[in-house]
């Protein structure tokens, strides 16, 4: 399960970092990579029934539902709207990361 945790955390962080860089300097590739990373993190969380995992899944879904419309809005020409949607997704991304940290701490306490 460690490998899955690494992969999930990697994609969550990737989504967060690319999202932040898109907000500061809107770039089509960064937005698409943020969408891809976020969707990957969501799919990796699919089918996990633990409480924290479901919370993370919900937060990831929220971020997806902000970033996917942001991608379409951006490429239809409304950059400021896309940026504001990405800021919304950023809030969900931060919550995902916090939940992931909490999950890691609990995992550490159980294993040590």
């Amino acid at each position: 399960m460690r490998l899955k945790k690494i992969l999930t955390d990697f994609f969550l962080l990737m989504a967060l970092t690319t999202n932040i860089s898109f907000i500061f300097n809107p770039n089509p590739y960064e937005l698409v990579i943020a969408v891809i990373a976020n969707l990957t993190a969501t799919i990796l969380k699919l089918g996990e029934g633990k409480i924290l995992a479901t919370e993370m899944m919900a937060a990831s879904l929220v971020a997806d539902l902000h970033l996917i419309p942001a991608a379409f809005v951006y490429f239809l020409g409304d950059v400021s709207e896309a940026v504001s949607l990405a800021i919304g997704a950023l809030a969900a991304n931060i919550i995902s990361i916090l939940l992931s940290i909490i999950e890691a701490i609990f995992g550490y306490l159980m294993e040590e």
């Binding site: 089509p28 799919i43 699919l46 040590e112």
Partner: protein
């Protein structure tokens, strides 16, 4: 090092203060549903990666046009192939990329769709969703009947309940029973063993009025009755009925918590005997049976107990106007000592401890009972 370990142990102890709660059936089914979705993870990941790979590739080829790139990817891996729509795809580089994407993506696309269909339609996901919905509806039931074990007797019983529009929940886990439950179009059923605490709790034992323990063997009936009584000890809040092969077993089941246990062989013998007593056509036996057992839907017979302090005590039957007001007839009075008076007239006086036997239409009887419940 020891210090660190003890600190961790202390934190762990603090975090585990809460006692582990047993999961309800609804939570268990929801967990199973979520678990079944994990099968989708790999095919969806593969599909997502091929879509992402294609979109990014076409974006680079077309100079950053996301919508055209996504569209081009979907029509390529979805085997639609409308043509080279995105900018840069009609170049040699674009065609090489499309070839690789098609080889990789078409297989992934078809495999993923097959897995998704299998999980939802061949696997358990749809059934689990149905059960979750059913359990949510059962939670709203009140004063209903719980039938543990679906046999031929239960099927007849269900028929009678349907006639009276009484809600019921069937609990049985046997394959054969589940087949008949679906064949007989039973609205609420729980595919679990009826003696499990969580099955009875999910069937709403705390809100139910009756429980029928009609399992295949005696031991299972005992298990159901004992579990049910543990969950609802009040004999007046939940009436438990069961069947037993002998009088001795019936007595034991009643001692364990059943309100009434019927011995089927004895019941059949008595009914045959009553037919023999009432001539060959057995009209009287049939009529009384139908009324007493609720098979006659237009007529019902019920008991109305009169307490010592009731205002009805000392009154004559003609004074209480049951026939005139509610169209309900008093056909007899069972006295306190058990003696039955079937020759009642309007001048018969009601005494404390009497039980009036009322005959009439079910709706009229209900109205009369509601009125006297408040008065008595």
């Amino acid at each position: 090092m020891i210090n660190k370990k003890s600190k961790l142990a202390l934190i762990r102890k603090k975090l585990h203060l809460r006692k582990k709660r047993e999961k309800s059936l609804m939570e268990e089914y929801q967990k199973k549903l979520i678990d079944s979705l994990s099968e989708l993870r790999i095919p969806l990941l593969l599909l997502h990666f091929s879509l992402s790979f294609g979109t990014l590739g076409y974006m680079i080829l077309s100079g950053g046009n996301f919508i055209d790139a996504l569209y081009m990817t979907v029509i390529t891996i979805g085997t639609i192939g409308f043509g080279e729509i995105a900018k840069g795809t009609d170049t040699p580089e674009g065609r090489i990329f499309t070839t690789f994407l098609a080889i990789m993506g078409i297989g992934i696309f078809t495999t993923s769709i097959t897995v998704v269909i299998r999980v939802f339609f061949v696997g358990n996901a749809i059934n689990l969703l149905k059960y979750i919905k059913m359990l949510a509806e059962i939670e709203k039931l009140k004063d209903h009947v719980i039938i543990c074990g679906y046999s031929k007797t239960s099927a007849w019983f269900v028929e009678a309940l349907r006639k009276r529009r009484i809600d019921f929940v069937v609990i049985d886990s046997r394959e054969e029973a589940l087949k008949y439950i679906q064949l007989h179009n039973i609205k609420y059923f729980i595919p679990e063993e009826p003696f499990k605490k969580k099955a009875l709790l999910s069937a709403g034992i705390k809100r139910a009025k009756y429980l029928i323990a009609n399992m295949e063997d005696e031991a299972q009936n005992i298990a159901v009755i004992v579990t049910a009584r543990l969950l609802q000890p009040d004999r007046d809040a939940l009436f438990i009925y069961s069947t037993a092969p002998t009088d001795g077993t019936a007595q034991k089941l009643e001692e364990l918590g059943a309100n009434k246990v019927i011995v089927p062989d004895k019941l059949i013998a008595n009914r045959i005997f009553s037919y023999m007593l009432h001539e060959t056509r057995g009209y009287i036996s049939d009529l009384f049976d139908k009324i007493a057992y609720g098979e006659e839907v237009d007529l019902e017979i019920v008991e109305l107990s009169v307490s010592e302090k009731s205002p009805l005590v000392g009154k004559k039957l003609k004074d209480i106007d049951l026939r005139k007001v509610y169209n309900v007839t008093v056909i007899g009075i069972r006295k306190f000592d058990g003696a039955l008076n079937l020759t009642v007239t309007g001048d018969t006086e009601i005494e404390g401890g009497d039980t009036l036997l009322l005959l009439g239409k079910p709706s009229n009887i209900r109205k009369a009972l509601e009125f006297y419940k408040e008065v008595l």
